[in-house]
Protein backbone atom coordinates (compact mmCIF):
# COMPACT_ATOMS: atom_id res chain seq x y z
CA UNK A 1 0.00 0.00 0.00
CA UNK A 2 1.44 3.37 -1.04
CA UNK A 3 1.15 6.13 1.53
CA UNK A 4 1.79 9.82 1.16
CA UNK A 5 1.47 10.34 4.88
CA UNK A 6 1.71 8.05 7.89
CA UNK A 7 -1.78 9.07 8.93
CA UNK A 8 -4.47 6.92 7.39
CA UNK A 9 -8.23 6.66 7.82
CA UNK A 10 -8.82 3.75 10.15
CA UNK A 11 -11.24 1.97 7.80
CA UNK A 12 -8.74 2.18 4.97
CA UNK A 13 -6.00 0.70 7.15
CA UNK A 14 -8.33 -2.10 8.19
CA UNK A 15 -9.50 -2.87 4.68
CA UNK A 16 -6.07 -2.76 3.05
CA UNK A 17 -4.14 -4.67 5.71
CA UNK A 18 -6.85 -6.99 7.01
CA UNK A 19 -6.01 -5.95 10.59
CA UNK A 20 -9.14 -4.92 12.51
CA UNK A 21 -8.70 -2.50 15.39
CA UNK A 22 -10.73 -3.76 18.33
CA UNK A 23 -10.73 -2.97 22.07
CA UNK A 24 -8.61 -6.09 22.71
CA UNK A 25 -6.01 -5.12 20.15
CA UNK A 26 -5.35 -5.46 16.43
CA UNK A 27 -6.92 -8.65 15.11
CA UNK A 28 -6.52 -10.69 11.96
CA UNK A 29 -8.12 -14.08 11.38
CA UNK A 30 -8.10 -15.65 14.86
CA UNK A 31 -5.13 -13.72 16.15
CA UNK A 32 -5.25 -10.56 18.26
CA UNK A 33 -2.12 -8.62 19.08
CA UNK A 34 -2.52 -6.26 22.01
CA UNK A 35 -1.42 -2.75 21.13
CA UNK A 36 -0.55 -0.62 24.11
CA UNK A 37 -2.80 2.25 23.29
CA UNK A 38 -5.26 2.46 20.48
CA UNK A 39 -3.61 4.95 18.19
CA UNK A 40 -6.65 6.96 17.22
CA UNK A 41 -5.93 10.41 15.97
CA UNK A 42 -8.64 12.95 15.38
CA UNK A 43 -8.40 14.29 11.87
CA UNK A 44 -6.97 17.77 11.96
CA UNK A 45 -7.04 18.04 8.22
CA UNK A 46 -3.34 17.50 7.56
CA UNK A 47 -3.48 13.84 6.53
CA UNK A 48 -3.60 13.45 2.77
CA UNK A 49 -4.06 9.76 2.10
CA UNK A 50 -7.74 10.12 1.48
CA UNK A 51 -7.19 10.64 -2.24
CA UNK A 52 -5.95 7.05 -2.60
CA UNK A 53 -9.40 5.78 -3.34
CA UNK A 54 -13.03 6.42 -2.74
CA UNK A 55 -12.83 6.60 1.06
CA UNK A 56 -14.94 9.18 2.73
CA UNK A 57 -12.68 12.20 3.11
CA UNK A 58 -14.60 13.56 6.07
CA UNK A 59 -13.78 10.48 8.10
CA UNK A 60 -12.77 11.46 11.59
CA UNK A 61 -10.89 8.40 12.85
CA UNK A 62 -7.33 8.09 11.71
CA UNK A 63 -4.50 5.82 12.69
CA UNK A 64 -0.76 6.26 13.04
CA UNK A 65 0.68 3.80 10.53
CA UNK A 66 4.23 4.17 11.83
CA UNK A 67 3.14 3.04 15.28
CA UNK A 68 0.99 0.19 13.99
CA UNK A 69 3.67 -1.05 11.60
CA UNK A 70 6.07 -1.36 14.50
CA UNK A 71 3.53 -2.93 16.86
CA UNK A 72 2.32 -5.45 14.27
CA UNK A 73 5.67 -6.00 12.60
CA UNK A 74 4.48 -4.79 9.20
CA UNK A 75 7.08 -3.92 6.57
CA UNK A 76 7.17 -0.16 6.18
CA UNK A 77 9.62 1.36 3.71
CA UNK A 78 10.20 5.05 3.23
CA UNK A 79 11.70 6.92 0.32
CA UNK A 80 12.88 10.12 1.97
CA UNK A 81 13.53 11.95 -1.29
CA UNK A 82 9.85 12.23 -2.16
CA UNK A 83 8.66 11.46 0.69
CA UNK A 84 6.45 8.47 0.24
CA UNK A 85 6.00 5.18 2.07
CA UNK A 86 5.02 1.66 1.13
CA UNK A 87 3.41 -0.61 3.67
CA UNK A 88 4.19 -4.17 2.69
CA UNK A 89 2.40 -7.36 3.62
CA UNK A 90 2.84 -8.83 7.09
CA UNK A 91 5.06 -11.85 7.55
CA UNK A 92 2.96 -13.55 10.18
CA UNK A 93 3.75 -17.23 10.39
CA UNK A 94 6.53 -16.78 7.85
CA UNK A 95 4.29 -17.68 4.90
CA UNK A 96 2.69 -15.73 2.07
CA UNK A 97 -0.68 -17.07 3.21
CA UNK A 98 -1.66 -16.82 6.85
CA UNK A 99 -4.95 -18.57 6.14
CA UNK A 100 -6.32 -20.73 3.33
CA UNK A 101 -9.33 -18.43 3.07
CA UNK A 102 -8.81 -16.55 -0.19
CA UNK A 103 -8.23 -12.86 0.48
CA UNK A 104 -10.51 -10.44 -1.33
CA UNK A 105 -8.99 -9.46 -4.66
CA UNK A 106 -10.28 -6.28 -6.26
CA UNK A 107 -8.91 -5.46 -9.70
CA UNK A 108 -10.11 -3.64 -12.82
CA UNK A 109 -10.56 -5.07 -16.30
CA UNK A 110 -9.54 -3.32 -19.55
CA UNK A 111 -12.52 -0.99 -19.35
CA UNK A 112 -11.91 -0.09 -15.73
CA UNK A 113 -14.81 -2.18 -14.39
CA UNK A 114 -14.03 -3.36 -10.89
CA UNK A 115 -14.02 -7.11 -10.35
CA UNK A 116 -14.20 -8.79 -6.93
CA UNK A 117 -13.07 -12.35 -6.41
CA UNK A 118 -15.88 -12.80 -3.86
CA UNK A 119 -18.41 -12.33 -6.68
CA UNK A 120 -17.51 -15.86 -7.81
CA UNK A 121 -18.35 -17.55 -4.50
CA UNK A 122 -20.17 -20.77 -5.34
CA UNK A 123 -17.89 -21.57 -8.28
CA UNK A 124 -14.51 -23.20 -8.57
CA UNK A 125 -12.08 -20.54 -9.68
CA UNK A 126 -8.67 -20.74 -11.28
CA UNK A 127 -6.78 -17.48 -10.96
CA UNK A 128 -4.23 -17.37 -13.75
CA UNK A 129 -1.33 -14.92 -13.47
CA UNK A 130 0.37 -13.87 -16.71
CA UNK A 131 2.41 -10.92 -17.93
CA UNK A 132 3.16 -9.28 -21.28
CA UNK A 133 6.92 -9.60 -20.77
Amino acid sequence: MILKSLKLPRTQFERKTGWLLKPEGACKNDLCIPVNHMPIIENNGSGDNSDNDSDNVSESTWVDVGYLAEALNLALVEEPEVPIWALGPDSLGGKALSSARAPELVLPDLDGNEFRLSSLLGKKVLIYAWAPY
Binding site: I2, L74, P89, A96, L97, L107, L110, K124, A129, P132
Partner: protein, 251 residues
Protein backbone atom coordinates in the same frame (compact mmCIF):
# COMPACT_ATOMS: atom_id res chain seq x y z
CA UNK B 1 -4.14 -17.03 -23.11
CA UNK B 2 -6.27 -18.27 -26.02
CA UNK B 3 -5.54 -21.86 -24.94
CA UNK B 4 -6.83 -21.02 -21.46
CA UNK B 5 -9.91 -19.44 -22.96
CA UNK B 6 -10.55 -22.73 -24.77
CA UNK B 7 -10.06 -24.69 -21.55
CA UNK B 8 -12.49 -22.38 -19.79
CA UNK B 9 -15.16 -23.08 -22.44
CA UNK B 10 -14.59 -26.78 -21.92
CA UNK B 11 -14.96 -26.61 -18.12
CA UNK B 12 -17.40 -23.77 -17.57
CA UNK B 13 -20.46 -26.04 -17.38
CA UNK B 14 -18.92 -27.76 -14.38
CA UNK B 15 -19.34 -24.69 -12.20
CA UNK B 16 -15.86 -23.46 -13.06
CA UNK B 17 -14.59 -20.00 -13.88
CA UNK B 18 -11.24 -18.75 -15.08
CA UNK B 19 -9.92 -15.37 -13.96
CA UNK B 20 -6.85 -14.16 -15.80
CA UNK B 21 -4.70 -11.46 -14.25
CA UNK B 22 -2.02 -9.53 -16.14
CA UNK B 23 0.77 -8.34 -13.83
CA UNK B 24 2.26 -5.22 -15.36
CA UNK B 25 3.30 -1.86 -13.95
CA UNK B 26 2.34 -0.41 -17.36
CA UNK B 27 -1.24 -1.41 -16.57
CA UNK B 28 -3.79 -1.33 -19.38
CA UNK B 29 -1.22 -0.01 -21.84
CA UNK B 30 0.97 -3.08 -21.33
CA UNK B 31 -1.83 -5.67 -21.35
CA UNK B 32 -4.37 -4.39 -23.86
CA UNK B 33 -3.15 -5.94 -27.13
CA UNK B 34 -2.77 -9.37 -25.51
CA UNK B 35 -6.20 -9.32 -23.93
CA UNK B 36 -7.88 -8.07 -27.08
CA UNK B 37 -6.18 -10.78 -29.13
CA UNK B 38 -7.40 -13.46 -26.69
CA UNK B 39 -11.03 -12.21 -26.73
CA UNK B 40 -11.75 -13.49 -23.22
CA UNK B 41 -15.29 -14.36 -22.12
CA UNK B 42 -14.12 -14.68 -18.50
CA UNK B 43 -12.95 -11.95 -16.12
CA UNK B 44 -9.65 -10.66 -17.46
CA UNK B 45 -8.01 -8.26 -15.05
CA UNK B 46 -5.09 -5.86 -14.84
CA UNK B 47 -2.85 -5.95 -11.78
CA UNK B 48 -0.66 -2.89 -12.10
CA UNK B 49 0.74 -3.14 -8.56
CA UNK B 50 1.28 -6.91 -8.48
CA UNK B 51 -1.30 -7.51 -5.76
CA UNK B 52 -1.09 -11.21 -6.59
CA UNK B 53 2.46 -11.20 -5.23
CA UNK B 54 1.43 -9.61 -1.94
CA UNK B 55 -1.82 -11.44 -1.43
CA UNK B 56 -1.06 -14.90 -2.81
CA UNK B 57 2.72 -15.16 -3.05
CA UNK B 58 2.94 -15.30 -6.85
CA UNK B 59 6.64 -15.31 -7.81
CA UNK B 60 6.57 -16.25 -11.46
CA UNK B 61 4.31 -16.26 -14.45
CA UNK B 62 2.41 -18.15 -15.60
CA UNK B 63 1.11 -19.22 -12.20
CA UNK B 64 -2.24 -20.30 -10.87
CA UNK B 65 -4.18 -20.38 -7.62
CA UNK B 66 -7.18 -22.67 -7.20
CA UNK B 67 -10.10 -21.45 -5.09
CA UNK B 68 -13.08 -23.65 -4.25
CA UNK B 69 -16.80 -22.84 -4.09
CA UNK B 70 -16.48 -21.70 -0.47
CA UNK B 71 -13.74 -19.22 -1.21
CA UNK B 72 -11.03 -21.47 0.22
CA UNK B 73 -7.70 -21.77 -1.56
CA UNK B 74 -7.11 -25.44 -2.34
CA UNK B 75 -3.83 -24.97 -4.18
CA UNK B 76 -1.56 -21.98 -3.51
CA UNK B 77 0.39 -20.20 -6.24
CA UNK B 78 2.30 -22.65 -8.43
CA UNK B 79 3.45 -22.80 -12.05
CA UNK B 80 0.53 -23.15 -14.47
CA UNK B 81 1.70 -24.62 -17.78
CA UNK B 82 -0.45 -24.20 -20.87
CA UNK B 83 -2.69 -27.18 -21.64
CA UNK B 84 -0.97 -29.84 -23.76
CA UNK B 85 -1.58 -29.36 -27.48
CA UNK B 86 -4.14 -31.75 -28.95
CA UNK B 87 -2.80 -34.21 -31.55
CA UNK B 88 -2.10 -32.43 -34.83
CA UNK B 89 -2.42 -29.03 -33.18
CA UNK B 90 0.44 -26.62 -33.51
CA UNK B 91 1.71 -25.03 -30.30
CA UNK B 92 0.34 -21.50 -30.31
CA UNK B 93 2.63 -18.49 -30.57
CA UNK B 94 2.17 -15.37 -28.51
CA UNK B 95 -0.85 -13.42 -29.74
CA UNK B 96 -0.07 -9.87 -30.73
CA UNK B 97 3.59 -10.68 -31.31
CA UNK B 98 5.10 -11.64 -34.59
CA UNK B 99 8.63 -12.91 -34.55
CA UNK B 100 10.86 -11.37 -37.20
CA UNK B 101 12.40 -13.88 -39.58
CA UNK B 102 15.91 -13.11 -38.38
CA UNK B 103 16.14 -12.94 -34.60
CA UNK B 104 19.05 -11.27 -32.81
CA UNK B 105 21.52 -13.72 -31.24
CA UNK B 106 20.38 -12.91 -27.71
CA UNK B 107 16.74 -13.68 -28.55
CA UNK B 108 17.71 -16.96 -30.19
CA UNK B 109 19.67 -17.87 -27.10
CA UNK B 110 16.72 -16.95 -24.87
CA UNK B 111 14.40 -19.18 -26.90
CA UNK B 112 16.90 -22.03 -26.63
CA UNK B 113 16.98 -21.64 -22.84
CA UNK B 114 13.20 -21.29 -22.58
CA UNK B 115 12.79 -24.54 -24.52
CA UNK B 116 14.59 -26.30 -21.64
CA UNK B 117 12.11 -25.09 -19.00
CA UNK B 118 10.27 -27.77 -17.08
CA UNK B 119 6.70 -28.15 -17.97
CA UNK B 120 4.54 -30.65 -16.15
CA UNK B 121 1.61 -29.83 -18.34
CA UNK B 122 0.20 -33.34 -18.50
CA UNK B 123 0.15 -33.90 -14.74
CA UNK B 124 -1.00 -30.35 -14.00
CA UNK B 125 -3.96 -30.52 -16.38
CA UNK B 126 -4.99 -34.03 -15.32
CA UNK B 127 -5.02 -32.70 -11.75
CA UNK B 128 -7.06 -29.65 -12.75
CA UNK B 129 -9.72 -31.74 -14.47
CA UNK B 130 -9.79 -34.13 -11.54
CA UNK B 131 -10.45 -31.24 -9.15
CA UNK B 132 -13.07 -29.60 -11.36
CA UNK B 133 -14.92 -32.94 -11.53
CA UNK B 134 -14.47 -34.21 -7.97
CA UNK B 135 -14.10 -31.00 -5.96
CA UNK B 136 -13.12 -31.57 -2.32
CA UNK B 137 -12.85 -35.30 -3.03
CA UNK B 138 -10.02 -34.69 -5.46
CA UNK B 139 -6.66 -35.75 -4.10
CA UNK B 140 -5.21 -32.61 -5.64
CA UNK B 141 -7.29 -30.32 -3.41
CA UNK B 142 -5.11 -29.55 -0.39
CA UNK B 143 -6.20 -29.11 3.21
CA UNK B 144 -6.11 -25.54 4.60
CA UNK B 145 -3.02 -26.41 6.66
CA UNK B 146 -1.21 -27.73 3.63
CA UNK B 147 -2.22 -24.72 1.55
CA UNK B 148 -0.68 -22.36 4.10
CA UNK B 149 2.48 -24.41 4.53
CA UNK B 150 2.90 -24.81 0.76
CA UNK B 151 2.57 -21.06 0.15
CA UNK B 152 5.81 -19.14 -0.38
CA UNK B 153 8.09 -18.41 2.56
CA UNK B 154 7.68 -14.82 3.75
CA UNK B 155 10.31 -13.60 6.14
CA UNK B 156 10.43 -10.01 7.37
CA UNK B 157 13.04 -9.37 4.69
CA UNK B 158 10.73 -10.71 1.98
CA UNK B 159 7.89 -8.52 3.27
CA UNK B 160 10.25 -5.52 3.11
CA UNK B 161 11.15 -6.53 -0.45
CA UNK B 162 7.47 -6.41 -1.39
CA UNK B 163 7.21 -2.91 0.04
CA UNK B 164 10.24 -1.83 -2.01
CA UNK B 165 8.65 -3.32 -5.12
CA UNK B 166 5.45 -1.38 -4.49
CA UNK B 167 7.45 1.81 -4.19
CA UNK B 168 9.33 1.01 -7.40
CA UNK B 169 6.11 0.51 -9.36
CA UNK B 170 4.70 3.76 -7.98
CA UNK B 171 7.85 5.65 -9.04
CA UNK B 172 7.69 4.01 -12.45
CA UNK B 173 4.10 5.24 -12.82
CA UNK B 174 5.13 8.71 -11.64
CA UNK B 175 7.98 8.80 -14.16
CA UNK B 176 10.70 8.84 -11.46
CA UNK B 177 12.90 6.23 -13.13
CA UNK B 178 15.99 6.53 -10.93
CA UNK B 179 13.98 5.99 -7.79
CA UNK B 180 12.08 3.14 -9.44
CA UNK B 181 15.35 1.39 -10.30
CA UNK B 182 16.71 1.94 -6.80
CA UNK B 183 13.70 0.21 -5.24
CA UNK B 184 13.47 -2.52 -7.88
CA UNK B 185 17.07 -3.40 -7.05
CA UNK B 186 16.28 -3.56 -3.36
CA UNK B 187 13.24 -5.75 -4.08
CA UNK B 188 15.36 -8.12 -6.19
CA UNK B 189 17.90 -8.39 -3.38
CA UNK B 190 15.30 -9.08 -0.67
CA UNK B 191 13.05 -11.41 -2.69
CA UNK B 192 15.58 -13.36 -4.72
CA UNK B 193 13.12 -16.11 -5.64
CA UNK B 194 10.70 -13.76 -7.41
CA UNK B 195 11.12 -13.94 -11.17
CA UNK B 196 8.20 -11.60 -11.64
CA UNK B 197 9.90 -8.81 -9.68
CA UNK B 198 12.96 -9.19 -11.88
CA UNK B 199 11.23 -9.65 -15.21
CA UNK B 200 8.96 -6.68 -14.53
CA UNK B 201 11.94 -4.39 -13.93
CA UNK B 202 13.98 -5.78 -16.85
CA UNK B 203 11.03 -5.43 -19.22
CA UNK B 204 10.97 -1.68 -18.63
CA UNK B 205 14.51 -1.31 -20.02
CA UNK B 206 13.37 -1.68 -23.59
CA UNK B 207 15.77 -2.51 -26.38
CA UNK B 208 14.52 -1.95 -29.91
CA UNK B 209 10.93 -1.20 -30.88
CA UNK B 210 7.52 -2.78 -30.49
CA UNK B 211 6.28 -5.44 -28.07
CA UNK B 212 9.41 -7.56 -28.56
CA UNK B 213 11.46 -4.76 -27.00
CA UNK B 214 10.12 -5.81 -23.60
CA UNK B 215 11.41 -9.36 -24.07
CA UNK B 216 15.03 -8.32 -24.50
CA UNK B 217 15.41 -8.20 -20.71
CA UNK B 218 19.08 -7.46 -20.63
CA UNK B 219 21.84 -4.98 -21.50
CA UNK B 220 21.62 -3.11 -24.76
CA UNK B 221 24.62 -4.35 -26.79
CA UNK B 222 25.32 -0.78 -27.83
CA UNK B 223 25.62 0.47 -24.26
CA UNK B 224 25.93 -2.51 -21.91
CA UNK B 225 27.35 -0.31 -19.15
CA UNK B 226 23.97 1.40 -18.77
CA UNK B 227 22.22 -1.77 -17.60
CA UNK B 228 21.04 -0.93 -14.07
CA UNK B 229 20.45 -4.40 -12.62
CA UNK B 230 22.65 -7.09 -11.10
CA UNK B 231 21.16 -9.80 -13.27
CA UNK B 232 19.37 -10.10 -16.56
CA UNK B 233 17.12 -12.77 -18.06
CA UNK B 234 19.75 -14.77 -19.87
CA UNK B 235 22.38 -14.46 -17.15
CA UNK B 236 19.99 -15.41 -14.33
CA UNK B 237 18.33 -18.28 -16.18
CA UNK B 238 21.72 -19.77 -17.01
CA UNK B 239 22.90 -19.27 -13.45
CA UNK B 240 19.98 -21.14 -11.94
CA UNK B 241 19.82 -23.61 -14.83
CA UNK B 242 16.93 -23.43 -17.28
CA UNK B 243 15.67 -26.83 -16.09
CA UNK B 244 15.24 -25.37 -12.57
CA UNK B 245 13.49 -22.21 -13.71
CA UNK B 246 10.01 -23.51 -13.04
CA UNK B 247 9.14 -25.69 -10.05
CA UNK B 248 7.79 -29.17 -10.73
CA UNK B 249 4.14 -29.95 -10.19
CA UNK B 250 3.80 -31.59 -6.80
CA UNK B 251 0.47 -33.27 -6.06
Amino acid sequence: MPVWQALREELKDQNFELVTVGLDSLGVEGCRSFIEAAKPTHPSLIDQHHQLANLFGVINIPSSIWVDENGMIVRPAEPAPAPPAKPGEKAPGVPGIELPSELPVRMKEMLTEAAKFNSDKESYHLALKDWVTLGAESKFAMSPTKVVSRSRPRSEAVAMGHAHFELAVQFEIDGLRDLAIKHFRKAHELVPDSWTFRRQAWSLERVGEGPLSRFWQGPNPESPEDWPYAGDWLKDVKEVGAENYSERFEP
